[in-house]
Structure formats: structure tokens, C-alpha cells
């Protein structure tokens, strides 16, 4: 990126594209050049642990999947070699390429430069690069990966042997104010370390794993259970201690660590390998980038964002997603990305669809009356298949198979000219089934389906025979057997292809309105974003007023006046002509499916039947009502939320109190609620800071298990500690005890007894107020709403997203989205991001006139159905129902809800239900053909 000029809606961006020395259009990614390239240099992708060539593909999933030439190339350095040019069959190498300058016009910009792992070289004490067997967690990640330097074997650099005793040291570069380190918490390391430990145990159950840590911050959804699982795994130790790397054994190259425990004091222990759990830095070159884009940075050099506008940079029209906002994990990166997309959609809504073009296909030929006429195209994949499998022989064999009327070889079936050849041949020879014998259907099936559509054939008449991943790649040393196997694979595909049926994907109309359930911060932001993109929104709130849980919050840790924000948000909702609010509302019925829902709402407007294409569930959460620590029995025991309100309102009891004790994890992280409520540590730190600001003389104690002030909130934890807030850790099996008593000076107090593990003795604190950090629990109406919208719940009772990492705002049920506390406890900033994310995903649906449903769904043959319900019981999507008619009980299917997994098919005793494209007939034909 060279420069940006202009303003929101109209930017001119100058890009400089570095030379790849490869013509992308010609390169097929066959890697022949890589084999011949004589230059080896440390593989950047594998952390420099193994070697790669000067010409190479960056990594296996790179897009585009073509090579590039690194500056270690002999020709680029010394003008010699050029062997790659000679071996390339496609003349794709262009060593004369130079940097290209490109001007582009855009309306908005999204910055997503990511993060940089902390480099432990900056501090000598980490001994990285100095001791051979000290690696970073990213090195370890590559070591344990099957595409890594040793194909997934974890080996020591010093002797290439498997380590049997490994230590992880947490907070490397994080939570430290020493020069070169970062003061903030990197937010992801505790959990990724646990993942690495479990992967290590998967590789080899006998490896002894030790994690040296400060607080364990497993605050994410399902992370507490993961922490528990890691802790219970045999041979895994968690040791809470500062740790120093002392020495390396000159012979064995083992590394000695020094640490201390409560019971044994300071001790030393030797490990085969030490993994530094490095934190996250801002992206490299961030200063220059901030200048070029004209966006401000926050004090840690991440992008400066307003907490209530968390995907917008300081410059209008420039948005931000992912790690550039600060250290965040994958789900938050994903929903912030969707969120940034939604905000861009608001800005550029007037230009939506202006640049897109509708794809047009020739009309589909009806071939149902014809005998199968099969064409087989056998791909060489450069040398990938052709060097192992005898392709010409295979083609001849294909011609002997029943119904095969055409067979030919192709160098690269996926190349544009080859695809055209398939289309042309299909027309010329009147083919009505097409088989490409090449690679895995995972990547190229959509392309080839498109190719046969171009020839006027139904796309489900296409079949792929995988003779690369499943054959030539695994049998590279057995050429004859590989050729024989290729024949078998193709024979199986032909047998299947003969029985394939044309299937219609159906277009469902999409109702353009959205329903948002819940009028809190999450629901309101999602509603506004969708409405700003031109769609009607029906916002349903169960209370008489909008605002939700945020009505009880006065400020955030970073100083946002929440009530002022909320007033502004509510005003914008009411003023928006496309948003219809239903107060004191209950949902009495919800039916329909993606694009076509009907929800009946009873509210102060009466009974309304709302038609909508998408629904967003943002019903928030409730606060746990503690049963512990005399709550409800003694009015000096309050919740952290009460304390916040009290401080804000200048409550007398709080003003008079000399000493305030806060107890964390009340109702969280226990057997009943095995999750972390995420907010409470920061909430208590916020209250402690407010108290210290208003009444510096007050004694403030926070009794905690792990302080989970992740991310930038770590700075406030440190500030509180510096302001003499006393943090005392307790263990769950030795919880603090609260009882009424009297102080030494004779005033009635609550006596709080707890064990101080640093001093190693019991402490008794006199408290005038005890504030309990009560858990966030799923909203009371969660079960009901889940039933109405046919969506799932996680074990902890919060709503369950379609995929924890990759689809964090969608449900498995299409057309229904999720945001806010209903998903899991989270801060306002995170909630706003997620609600924009949900709006973004909903807009992807609503901006289309139709939604296409797959043709590979189940169908029921009523005659054969005996109404046993085995199918309906197996269906996770409610697509099957048993209905009674004159012929008895029969299964009926709603194909729109069917996901095509075929569980019902394999459960059906009579074969009455069949998954199209994977019918019993098609499967049996393929199975039978496996044996010649």
C-alpha cells in the first residue's frame, strides 16, 4: 500500500505489487520447478526450522496456489541458474517481472493486518536462539503440525529426538512493564497452551507436560471446561509461579528452570524442551501504516477505536477487523470481520449490487429419457498423477466401461482451456454424464459442476474420481498398483455416474425484513445496522423499555458513559423510519424457514404476525442471585452490580464504609456453572478504581481465584494494584467465609476469613460491605426462544452457534443469527462488534432476492414408509415429521431444512427415505464396482 487519498465513499488507493516472477494465469501450482530449484533456504512458514526452495508455494492452502520466487534465488542475486524456466511446462516463469503500480478506487477500506507474535529475542533472559531447545509457541505449533518441518513429529533442535518432558512458560512478553515486553495480557496464550498440551498428549501420552503460569485466563466460551480437561489429563502439571530460565546442560542440551511453590519454596527442574508462550504484538510496520492511512493508534500501537464503535478507525470510511483492534481470539476476529463488512454496507448501501453481474447459463437439456452417455476426462495434473499413473492406458481402460462413450487425457483439467474442452466435448459427443478423474472434489468440484452447466447438463450429472490424493500421492513408489487402483476408482465412479439423477436446487424467495429478538445493546445495534442498509426491522423487547442489562451499568473500565451512550442509541432506534419497536412483547409462535419466517408477537401493539427473512436472537442474559456469603440475609452483602450503582448514586452505606471486600467467581466456575462469567474481574477492578478515586482512604480487597482482566484491561488491574487495592487469591476448595462480627474498634462488621497463600496463613478482614461478583447466567427465556426458533443450546445453557470459531454469529438453523450475552458473557465493546457481525451475516441473506437450497436433500417414498420415526428421531434439523394420513403414519420432509447428511437414510429400515445424490442405489453401485 503506497498511499490513500480521498474520503469516505471515494478513496483513491495506490498499491505496489511486488514481483512474484511467476505469471499467475499460467502457473498451475504443479511444483515441478520446486523439485528442480537448487537453492535451499529456511522456510519462513515453518519458522525457519526446516528448509524450502527459492521458488516455492508459501503453504499448502495458499491462495492463489501458485509458486513465487524468493530473493534467495540465484538468478535474482547473481544472474545464474534459470533452471525453473527450463522445467516449467507452461512457460509460467518470468524472471523479468518488476513491481507493478496499481491505482484503485474504493468507497471504504477495512484494515485487517493481523498481529505479530512477540519476538523473545528482545530480552536475553528468555534465552531464545541461545539455548537450542527453547522454542516459541509458534515454533511448537509448526512442529506439531502435519505440514510442519518434521511432518508432525515434535523433535528437538539439538539432537532431533522426541522430547519427553516439556515445560511451557506463560506470559512471555505479556503482562510485564519491563522494556521490550508488553503491559497488556495477550488474551489467547493460556488456552492455546492448553491446546498444545493436549495435542502433545495425543501424539504421545507419556510426555510429561508442565505449564508455569500466572493467572489462568480461560474466560472464553467452553474454555473453563477445556482448562479442567487439561488439568485432569494424566502427566499434566499446572504450576503457579514466576519462572526463570537458568541454564542449558552443555551435553544433553536440556534446560533448567527455576520456580517456587507454596509448599516447597524455590526449586530447580530440568526439561527436555521449553516452550515460550509468546504474546501478541501489533503488526510490524504499524507506525508507517498508521501514517499512510491516517488512522490513529492507541498507546500499545494497536488501532485506536471508540469502545462503542469498535470496528471504526479514527478516519471515517476506514474500518478495522481482527487482531489490529488488540489481542483477540478467532471467534472475535471472525465476527468483527463480519461487523466491519456490515458497517461498510451501511456506508455504501446506495451502491450495493452495482458492480456485480448475474451469471447466465445455457438452458438445461432434458436427458432423462436418454441412455447414460458418459465422458471420462483423466487428468495428468502435470506430473502429480501422470508421473505415477499410466494415464494413456487408463484412458483406454475407461473406453471399455459400460456407457462410456468418450475418454481422453488432459494435462490440467482445471486449466481454463481444459474446462472449455470439457464443455465442448460434452456438446459435441452428446454426453449426459461427465467424470473428471483428477484430484479431491473438495476444491474443484464446484468448478467442474459449473463446467457441465456451461454445456447445458444438470450439474448433479458431474462426478469426480479422485486419483491424486487417494492414489498417486500415496502410492508414488508403486506405479503399477497405482494404475490398477486408478482403474478401480474410475470404474466405481462410472458405476455411480450411470445412476445419477438430475437434481434441482431450489430458489426460495427471501422476505426482506428482519426480526430482532431483544432490545438491549446487542439487539439495538444489530437492528440499526440492518435498517441503515435499507431493510425493515422488527425489534421485539420483553420489557416496557429498551436497554436491557446495560441500564444497570454506568461506565466502562475505559471510561464510556454507558447511560449517555444508551440514551443516544435508543433515540436513534426510535427515530429510524425502518425500525418498528414492540415493547412488553412476548413471542407466541414462530414458524417458517430461512427467508420466510412468520413470528407472532403479542405486545402493547396487540397481536402482530410478522413476516421476516432473517431473525437475530439477542435476548441477553440474567444475573445470578447468589445463595452464598449471606447474600439476602445481611444487607451489607450486595452484588458487584449493586456496588456499581451504589458508588454512582453516592449511596450512604457505601460512602460510610471503611472497608469493602469483593469476592469473585460467585456462582461461576463451579460444578453447576462450569464456565467463567468473563466480565466480573474487570467489573470488580472498575468498582475498586471508582472507589479509590472517590474515597482514596477506603480499604478495598478483591478475593479472587484467577484475575481474568484479559487484553488491555490488564492495565487497569495493575493500576488498581498500584492504588493499594489488595488482591488476595483463594482456592475453590478453601473459599472465604463471611460472618457477622465486630471490629477491634467495636463497630459491627462482616468478618471475612480467607487463606493468604503468599503469607501462608489465615487472614480475617473486617468488611463494611461485601460485594459478590455474581455469575452471568442464561436468560430465563432461553429455552423457550430456542424451542421457537429451533436452535440449539450449549452445555452451559447459552445459545450454541453453528461453529465456535468459524461461524460465531450463525446458528445451525439457517437464517437465524446470534449476538450479545445470549451467546456468552461479554463486554459492551465485544457485544457491539458481535451485533454488527450478526447484522453483516443477516445482510448476506437479506440482500439477495432468493436463497438457493441444495438439491442433495432427502425424499420420502410414502408407499414404503412404515412411520417408525427412526428418521425423524435422527434428524438434528427438524426437517422430518411423522404425520398420520389414511395410509397410516408417514414421514414427511421439509427439504428446505434438510442439510443432506443422510442419517435418516441409514436409519430407515425399509429404504423409504433416500438422500438424493447419495441414494442406496448409487452407493451400492459404487461399492459393488470396487471389486472387479
Amino acid at each position: 500500500m503506497d498511499r490513500v487519498e480521498g474520503e469516505a465513499g471515494n478513496f483513491q488507493v495506490t498499491l505496489i505489487k511486488k514481483p512474484r516472477y511467476i505469471q499467475e494465469g499460467k502457473c498451475t501450482g504443479c511444483t515441478t520447478c520446486v523439485d528442480y530449484c537448487p537453492v535451499e533456504y529456511p522456510d519462513q512458514y515453518n519458522q525457519g526450522i526446516s528448509k524450502n526452495k527459492a521458488i516455492h508455494i508459501y503453504f499448502a492452502q495458499a491462495i492463489p496456489l501458485v509458486e513465487y520466487i524468493d530473493d534467495s534465488c540465484l538468478y535474482l542475486k547473481e544472474g545464474k541458474c534459470r533452471v525453473c524456466e527450463t522445467v516449467c511446462e507452461n512457460d509460467a516463469i518470468d524472471l523479468k517481472q518488476s513491481a507493478e503500480r496499481k491505482e484503485i478506487q474504493v468507497g471504504a477500506i477495512i484494515l485487517s493486518p493481523g498481529l505479530e507474535p512477540f519476538d523473545p529475542h528482545v530480552r536475553k533472559e528468555y534465552h531464545y536462539g541461545d539455548f537450542a531447545n527453547v522454542v516459541t509457541s509458534l515454533d511448537y505449533e509448526r512442529l506439531s503440525c502435519s505440514t510442519g518441518p518434521y511432518s508432525g513429529e515434535i523433535l528437538r533442535a539439538s539432537d532431533g529426538k522426541h522430547p519427553h518432558k516439556i515445560a511451557w512458560i506463560q506470559c512471555i512478553g505479556s503482562r510485564r512493564v519491563t522494556p521490550g515486553d508488553n503491559s497488556y495480557c495477550s488474551a489467547v496464550c493460556c488456552t492455546y497452551t492448553q491446546k498444545q498440551v493436549l495435542i502433545t498428549k495425543d501424539h504421545d501420552g507419556d510426555v510429561d507436560c508442565t505449564i508455569f503460569h500466572n493467572d489462568i485466563r480461560s474466560y472464553g466460551k467452553d474454555f473453563e471446561r477445556y482448562y479442567e480437561r487439561t488439568g485432569k489429563t494424566p502427566g499434566v502439571r499446572f504450576i503457579r509461579s514466576y519462572t526463570s530460565i537458568v541454564r542449558e546442560d552443555p551435553v544433553t542440551k536440556n534446560v533448567t528452570l527455576r520456580y517456587s511453590t507454596n509448599d516447597e519454596g524455590v526449586k530447580e527442574e530440568e526439561f527436555d524442551m521449553v516452550v515460550l508462550s509468546v504474546g501478541l504484538n501489533p503488526p510490524s510496520g504499524v507506525q508507517a501504516m498508521s501514517k499512510k492511512f491516517g488512522v490513529e493508534l492507541e498507546p500499545h500501537d494497536f488501532c485506536k477505536v471508540n469502545p462503542v464503535e469498535p470496528v471504526s478507525s479514527s478516519r471515517p470510511g476506514i474500518f478495522v477487523s481482527g487482531g489490529f483492534q488488540g489481542p483477540i481470539d478467532i471467534p472475535e476476529s471472525v465476527f468483527s470481520a463480519s461487523g466491519a463488512g456490515a458497517r461498510v454496507g451501511e456506508l455504501l448501501n446506495h451502491r450495493r449490487g452495482k458492480l456485480s453481474r448475474e451469471r447466465e447459463y445455457p438452458p438445461e437439456r432434458d436427458v432423462s429419457k436418454e441412455e447414460p452417455r458418459i465422458g471420462v476426462f483423466v487428468c495428468h495434473c502435470g506430473a502429480n498423477i501422470g508421473r505415477i499413473v499410466n494415464v494413456p492406458d487408463t484412458v483406454e481402460f475407461c473406453k471399455t466401461l459400460p456407457n462410456v462413450v468418450h475418454a481422453q487425457e488432459q494435462l490440467f483439467s482445471c486449466a481454463t482451456n481444459s474446462a472449455k474442452e470439457i464443455t465442448d466435448m460434452t456438446k459435441e459427443k452428446g454426453l449426459n454424464r461427465v467424470i473428471v478423474a483428477a484430484c479431491s472434489p473438495r476444491t474443484l468440484e464446484p468448478l467442474f459442476r459449473d463446467t457441465v452447466r456451461e454445456a447445458g447438463i444438470n450439474q448433479y450429472y458431474f462426478e469426480m474420481a479422485n486419483i491424486r490424493e487417494q492414489n498417486s500421492w500415496v502410492h508414488s513408489k508403486e506405479k503399477e498398483e497405482a494404475t490398477a487402483k486408478a482403474r478401480d476408482i474410475i470404474r466405481m465412479s462410472v458405476a455411480r455416474a450411470r445412476r445419477l439423477e438430475p437434481l434441482q436446487e431450489f430458489d426460495l424467495p427471501v422476505d426482506k425484513a428482519a426480526l430482532v429478538v431483544g432490545g438491549g445493546v446487542a439487539g439495538m445495534n444489530a437492528a440499526l445496522s440492518i435498517a441503515n442498509q435499507g431493510h425493515e426491522v422488527h425489534l421485539v423487547e420483553k420489557n416496557a423499555e429498551l436497554g436491557g442489562m446495560a441500564r444497570r451499568i454506568h461506565s466502562t473500565l475505559d471510561g464510556v458513559d454507558v447511560q449517555a451512550y444508551l440514551r443516544d442509541l435508543i433515540t436513534r432506534i426510535y427515530k429510524h423510519p425502518l425500525i418498528h419497536v414492540y415493547h412488553s412483547a412476548t413471542i407466541t409462535d414462530a414458524r417458517g424457514y430461512v427467508g420466510n419466517f412468520v413470528t407472532v408477537v403479542k405486545s402493547e401493539r396487540g397481536v402482530s404476525e410478522i413476516k421476516h427473512g432473517a431473525a437475530i436472537i439477542a435476548i441477553g442474559a440474567d444475573l445470578y442471585k447468589p445463595a452464598e456469603y449471606l447474600y439476602g440475609q445481611d444487607d451489607r452483602v450486595i452484588t458487584h452490580m449493586d456496588l456499581e450503582e451504589g458508588i454512582h448514586n453516592g449511596d450512604d452505606q457505601i460512602a460510610q464504609a471503611k472497608s469493602i471486600v469483593m469476592i469473585q467467581c460467585v456462582g461461576s466456575r463451579n460444578d453447576e456453572r462450569n464456565y467463567c462469567s468473563r466480565l466480573c474481574c474487570s467489573e470488580s477492578v472498575k468498582n475498586a478504581l471508582s472507589l479509590k478515586k472517590k474515597y482514596p482512604e477506603k480499604e478495598v480487597y478483591i478475593l479472587y481465584r484467577d484475575m481474568r482482566t484479559y487484553g488491555f484491561n490488564e492495565d487497569y488491574y495493575r493500576e488498581a494494584s498500584n492504588k493499594d487495592v489488595k488482591f488476595i487469591r483463594y482456592e475453590p476448595e478453601d473459599k472465604p467465609v463471611v460472618e457477622p462480627g465486630e471490629s477491634d474498634d467495636g463497630r459491627p462488621v462482616l468478618k471475612v476469613t480467607t487463606t493468604d497463600y503468599i503469607l501462608g496463613k489465615k487472614l480475617v478482614l473486617d468488611a463494611d460491605i461485601v460485594a459478590l461478583a455474581a455469575a452471568i447466567v442464561p436468560s430465563a427465556s432461553t429455552d423457550e426462544v430456542a424451542g421457537q426458533f429451533k436452535v440449539q443450546l450449549s452445555p452451559d445453557g447459552f445459545f450454541k452457534e453453528a461453529h465456535v470459531k468459524l461461524r460465531p454469529v450463525e446458528f445451525g438453523t439457517e437464517g437465524v443469527y446470534l449476538c450479545g450475552l445470549a451467546h456468552y458473557p461479554k463486554f459492551i465493546q465485544e457485544t457491539v462488534k458481535q451485533s454488527y457481525g450478526a447484522a453483516g451475516r443477516a445482510m448476506t441473506l437479506l440482500s439477495h432476492d432468493v436463497v438457493v437450497a441444495s438439491g442433495s436433500v432427502c425424499q420420502v417414498n410414502e408407499k414404503k414408509c412404515i412411520g417408525c420415526s427412526a428418521c425423524a428421531d435422527a434428524c438434528a434439523y427438524g426437517a422430518l415429521e411423522i404425520r398420520e394420513n389414511k395410509q397410516g403414519k408417514k414421514a414427511t420432509i421439509n427439504p428446505i431444512l434438510c442439510k443432506g447428511d443422510g442419517l435418516c437414510n441409514s436409519k430407515c429400515p425399509t429404504g423409504a427415505i433416500q438422500l438424493k445424490h447419495y441414494t442406496d442405489d448409487e452407493m451400492f453401485a459404487q461399492i459393488d464396482a470396487a471389486i472387479a
Binding site: T147, G152, Q470, A870, K899, Y918, A930, I931
Partner: protein
């Protein structure tokens, strides 16, 4: 290894496995996603697992080594695990040799037994419907979901459905409702079940009007031969008894 693609391991039907063995395949391997890590909410791998547990017991029952069937769970990123699993399975099958060798049974005999069981798949699925839909929580439960006794009882208790010619009123209800069209007979024709076609779904037994109760369940006894075709006509009693 010859591969057959399904979109979810839960699509792998008991009959697919039996079909492969009856074709002479020496081993069947099913690969599914890691348990509890379904990318959807389907969790079909649990269904594949229960099917495999049942299939293994059935294999034992008919004298086939259950180690010829294996299921392993792994993610798309577990290449090593995949390689390891496949190699160890191939090695295992090589040890066992061609179908019948380690069992000491002639291959044709074993295939015939498989074919017999295959005919009972609809019955097996129907009576084990609930167990097959169980989501197991830990490997400790694997051995007890289907026990040897369960499967022995399953086969010893195979029901045959028979229409008592003395009771059948040729009302056509069962014949119309039979999903396999296995019931022969028309109006005034005593109905007869074609045992070759019958899949033991019990529909006829359920729908036969209780006042006739003509359909009988027969277990452990030979089924009476069907009435000869020329004796099936129902002679209207009202007419014959008229003096």
C-alpha cells in the same frame, strides 16, 4: 484401499458394510470427524459408531472376525492420525488374510451368511432403533451397548409373519399397506405373505383389524406352507349355509 465418499459418516448404512463383505471385501474402514467436534449440529459420527458396534457383534455372531471392520475419528488436520490409522488397519487385514482365512470358514460360506444377515437388515434396524440412535459418552459404554447375548437373542428371536388362512377375511388392508408389496391376494382371495419379499416391518400385524387378528408372529417354529393358490378363494359363508 478403495474409497467411497459420503457427506457425513452417519450416512454409512449397516447394509453398505455387509454389502462390501458379501462382495468379498476383506476389511471395511470408516473415517469420521472427531466425536463432539461436528462442524454442524448433526453429530452423525455417533450414529456411525453405534452402527459399527452393532455390525461387529453381528460379524462375531456369524463367525466373521470383527476386526475386519474399524471406525476411527479424526479431523481434516489429522493427516498423521489418518496415515497411522489406515496403515495399521491395512496391516491388520493383511494379518487376517482374505475373508474366511483367519475365521477358518470357506469364503463362499461366509459370504452366504452375510447375505442371510443382509436380508434381515430392515428387521435389525427396526428392533434396534433406539439403541442405534444412542449418543455414547465414553468408550466404557462401547462394549455394553450391544452385547453378544443381545445379538444372539436378536437372531434367535427373528419373527416370521404369517397370515392364518382360517381367519383372513381378504380385506386388503395389509396388502395395501405392505411397503414391500409382499402380500399376495385380492378381493375374496385369502392373503399370503411372500416370505422372500417380507422385510418383517410388522405393518401387516399392526393393521390387521383386531376382530380378524389374522396375522401371526411366529418365532422358533417352522412357518406353515402357504395355502395352494387354488384353495385361496373365500366362499361366502352366508350363501353356503343357506338351507
Amino acid at each position: 484401499m478403495r474409497l467411497v465418499r459420503v457427506m457425513c459418516s452417519g450416512r454409512v448404512d449397516l447394509e453398505f458394510v455387509l454389502r462390501a463383505f458379501s462382495n468379498g471385501t476383506d476389511g471395511v474402514f470408516i473415517g469420521g470427524c472427531r466425536l463432539n467436534e461436528c462442524n454442524f449440529i448433526t453429530h452423525g459420527n455417533f450414529h456411525a459408531l453405534t452402527m459399527v458396534l452393532l455390525a461387529k457383534r453381528i460379524m462375531e455372531h456369524i463367525g466373521m472376525n470383527p476386526e475386519r471392520l474399524r471406525i476411527r475419528f479424526m479431523s481434516g488436520a489429522d493427516a498423521n492420525l489418518f496415515v497411522e490409522s489406515v496403515n495399521s488397519f491395512v496391516q491388520k487385514v493383511k494379518e487376517l488374510g482374505p475373508l474366511g482365512q483367519s475365521e477358518g470358514v470357506a469364503p463362499e460360506e461366509l459370504k452366504a451368511r452375510v447375505a442371510q444377515v443382509t436380508k434381515l437388515v430392515p428387521y435389525i434396524k427396526r428392533v434396534n432403533k433406539d439403541k442405534l440412535a444412542t449418543r455414547l459418552n465414553s468408550p466404557d459404554e462401547y462394549d455394553t451397548l450391544f452385547t453378544k447375548d443381545d445379538v444372539d437373542r436378536l437372531f434367535s428371536g427373528v419373527i416370521t409373519y404369517y397370515i392364518d388362512p382360517d381367519k383372513c377375511q381378504a380385506c386388503m388392508i395389509c396388502a395395501r399397506r405392505c411397503p414391500e408389496e409382499a402380500i399376495m391376494g385380492g378381493k375374496n382371495q385369502i392373503h399370503v405373505i411372500d416370505q422372500e419379499k417380507c422385510i418383517k416391518c410388522e405393518t401387516c400385524f399392526d393393521v390387521c383389524p383386531p376382530r380378524f387378528a389374522a396375522v401371526k408372529r411366529i418365532v422358533g417354529e417352522p412357518v406353515p406352507p402357504p395355502l395352494p393358490a387354488d384353495q385361496r378363494m373365500i366362499v361366502k359363508r352366508a350363501k353356503t349355509t343357506t338351507p
